[in-house]
Symmetry: C2
Subunit: 277 residues, 2 copies
Amino acid sequence: MSAPHSENPLKGVQAFVFDTFGTVVDWRTGISRQLRARFDGIVDDDWDAFTAEWREGYYEMTFAIAKGAQGTLNVDVMHRQILDRMLASPRWAHLAPHVVTDAQRHELVLFWHDIPGWADTTAGLYALKKHAIIGPLSNGNVRTLVDMAKNGDLPWDVILSSELLGSYKPNPKMYLGALQHLSLAPHQCAMVAAHIYDLRAAASHGMRTVFVRRPQEPDAPDDIRAKSDGGEVDVYAESFLEVARVLEAARREEQEDAERARRAGRREGGRELRASL
Amino acid sequence: MSAPHSENPLKGVQAFVFDTFGTVVDWRTGISRQLRARFDGIVDDDWDAFTAEWREGYYEMTFAIAKGAQGTLNVDVMHRQILDRMLASPRWAHLAPHVVTDAQRHELVLFWHDIPGWADTTAGLYALKKHAIIGPLSNGNVRTLVDMAKNGDLPWDVILSSELLGSYKPNPKMYLGALQHLSLAPHQCAMVAAHIYDLRAAASHGMRTVFVRRPQEPDAPDDIRAKSDGGEVDVYAESFLEVARVLEAARREEQEDAERARRAGRREGGRELRASL
């Protein structure tokens, strides 16, 4: 007997939940472009560095809260706290006179609501949505994710966020909350992310894992590979369209399995009929 | 000075949240049709009465829990509890031998995931979605609402449900939770429902109210009228398309207001310029 072919890891998967910032949308380009436009003709600065520091502050705070620290579950509030801290720091204090009022600072926070998807994002999500439930499982708050979806044509079936589920990733509440609300067993739900920490947490709860390589994203070692190549994730892809092709193949295999089972059942039924004659 | 025209009540409304069973989807037809198909050739019965009793049990349980009673927040679990009780009752006991296993009973519960929208539902939701955030604010659980949306082409931007918000309507947690997660002031969010209890609860929290008449739905007195006609709701409509037309008019008025403010600002600026010369 030959070695069994490795089974398509997306067979039986009914829902995909997505890390959003970095995996679905390009926060780096999106935020620095809006900062550049906002300060155009007022002050010229290193907006990529500003964006990176803002994002870094978010990582620090969400990870701390995920491990049990006190803090807000609303990412708008968090982005504002980090912004205020940055504008009070020596590196960025020269910007503070140009963003003085509450409304002006809130305008900058809202930049996180309007970040473009990657080139493959929208087409990939529509392709996946034909065969499965799709939704963000994100540290963003609901309104941020809703606005991002409307601005960027992200056709989510459902939005699952920190504020709804009570913590931040990688806290178990996030993954277990998604499974509970989607009424799924872990192997019926796949986590899609460009960061390995997120997939390792999902795998620890029995979820399927889909790694999508987004160059420049942190926490994405070069040696990540699919299980079929000796690695740790169920699917390795470089775009959502690639993930959709794997899912389409899985659906075809499921149909063939069902057809085979139906035929076997008919044969079985035939045997029973003959036995009873 | 003539009396002011009554202002379009949907001006400034950024999101619409919808009662779902009865308002968005036709549960009566949807469930009884599936029951009829399921029992076709096995047993013939009054499936409209079966459906009505199932629905009645749901009303009783959700209202009790909304007022503080213990009970499940998952409507699949609730529908199963009511079904089991009905199948043990004298009126329906003759059906029990035909739905014996757990899987068979769960199949019936899933009927609630596949209920068709009213004739105007899908087109109306797409029209509203162009100008505002739309989502159910429903006593259904997330998976029921997601399946219903995929089966019935309901293009929700977000799904807000009892299990996510911690109670059932008309408990304040539902309305206040929707406002919190959408980051909206009450007057920026409209509740759409075919039942007056739901709109009265929404209004008590300052939300806008849109009554849509769905014949046969309970708790919809004949004399409901819009405030502009001396009644209590902000908008009275007979279809979602009518609501969309009111919203489109509101958006035009908002643009005109903004244009007037811009011109007034320019005149003001001109006066200031002349004064400083």
